[in-house]
Amino acid sequence: MTDQELETVAGNGLINRRHLLGLGLAGMGVAVANSALAADAGMRLEIPAWSKSPGPGASGYGGRSSYAGQFQRMAGNPNPIYPGGGASRSPLQHLQGTITPNGLHFERHHAGIPDIDPSRHKLVINGLVRQPLVFSYEDLLKYPMVSKIYFLECSGNSGALWGANGADAPDGTAQSIHGLVSCAEWTGIPLSTLLDEAGVDPQAQWISAVGADAASMGRSVPMDRAMDDVMVALYQNGEPVRPGQGYPMRLLVPGCEGNISVKWLTQIKLTRAASQFRDETSKYTDTQPDRLSRQFTLPMGTKSLITSPSGQMSLHRQGLYQINGIAWSGRGSIRRVEVSADGGQTWADALLDDQHAHKALARFRIPWQWTGGSAILQSRATDSQGNVQPTRTGLINEVGILGRYHFHGIQSWSVNSAGKVRNVFA
């Protein structure tokens, strides 16, 4: 198949997504294979050494291939005045599909990870209820559970793209800029089940969720949301929730800013009004240009991100590439992702693996023919509510740059003629 047969659908080399399927995919292979075959024309394939002697046997808990396991979360340096505080970011540009392995799920801790003995951990429900209750971990394991795939995103994710103080993150990677988003299958008890057992007083308008970490981190959740799809999660991708994710249990508020999914959950108190915790007043609030500040901006915005090619990668030769990335919305599922290779002048629809990934990551892909010129790669998501991801400038025009949190504008990766990819504000 020749290049002419690939249908160009938008400027600067974007190819119809149908070429990712069937015949089209073979077409992509040709461009790459041509040079490879020419280089190794005399090659003979032989049986490799590992096929000639038995390897180690089964083990109790598996690890990664030593060839595949180089990538890590990116954690900041420990700070003695902020013991246990800080974050680690998922290596998005090295991951595929939509599920984040448990050891690579992003973290944000306010006072480190508590070492909780589940047999001594308690979950209390009190406040405006008929009967305050206390549950043990053992008790909770006996409740009917649901398993759902949900993303979690810190509301500070992508904050570098606000460009506060003139910083424009030229060395940024998908991980360093956007790595505070991850996605897992969470298994737990619908919170409404437990609240119903305590008996919700009709005056209760909010719940306050508190963790058992040293910061006793607290957040308020509106009652209607608490009774909707919120769960007390006990399992993450099939195994008990990892300590860094809240072992033995965390609140999981689907689609909403990560901080509200309180880890190490130990108390739910029903109240008339929000408790106005420090992390819903001082932090995680967005100051507008008029100097009023939005609080309780809970669902995360409609968002997408090209993870490959992305910042600090290099394209080594001209030819066909599979642009791919992730998209998500706190208000539903991603129905459409468009990709541009010319800085947003023209757009083409990417192939979405799943159009019904509700409050979960969706993977998108589109073929792209790089002919050695400069390009600006962008992606734009539309969700099931019709929300369209704004440009960076559009978002800033709407909400200003004093907000610090909830950035969900379009990411621009520039590719120069040497094939070097870097973050730009376009």
Binding site: Q131, K142, S282, R294
Partner: protein, 179 residues
Amino acid sequence: MSSRNKLIGVIVAIALSHTSFFPLAQAQNVGLGTPISESQLADFDLIAGPDGNGLPVGSGTALQGKEVFEAQCAVCHALNGEGTSGNTVLVGGDMHSEGTPLRTVGSYWPYASTVFDFIRRAMPATAPKSLSDVEVYQVTAYVLYLNGIIDQYKVLNSETLAEIDMPNKDGFIDHSQAQ
């Protein structure tokens, strides 16, 4: 909760350990939570709301809090709350200043209750929950005093704390019901 519910829970637990299905009829009301009273939770429930609900007995002034602050807080927040590095500035700022406003307890926080609530649950960062309730009142008063919000003789207790008007009390919009 009745002892019948407890029994159902136990039966279910045994069933679960031998089979992988959950009997649906019993799933409607597992009822394994143990009743507890609010007085039993007095030391456990640290939530101090903006209406003063949950503030404990005790009181303190900034005059008393100075000593606590200098001993327990200044190492990270500096002697007058001006901060050392990172997120540790506790004083100053003006929401209407040019450029990016410095957002602190004084310039940004809408409720004084949050100061008490946060210090009691999370500070000092190396030994959270090591202060007595009285010390928390004292040092809360001191942080408010450093911000010029109260004078050093003002007695903070469960009633007076919730009545304090913070400079930015009208500065927030509840966005929780936005679509």
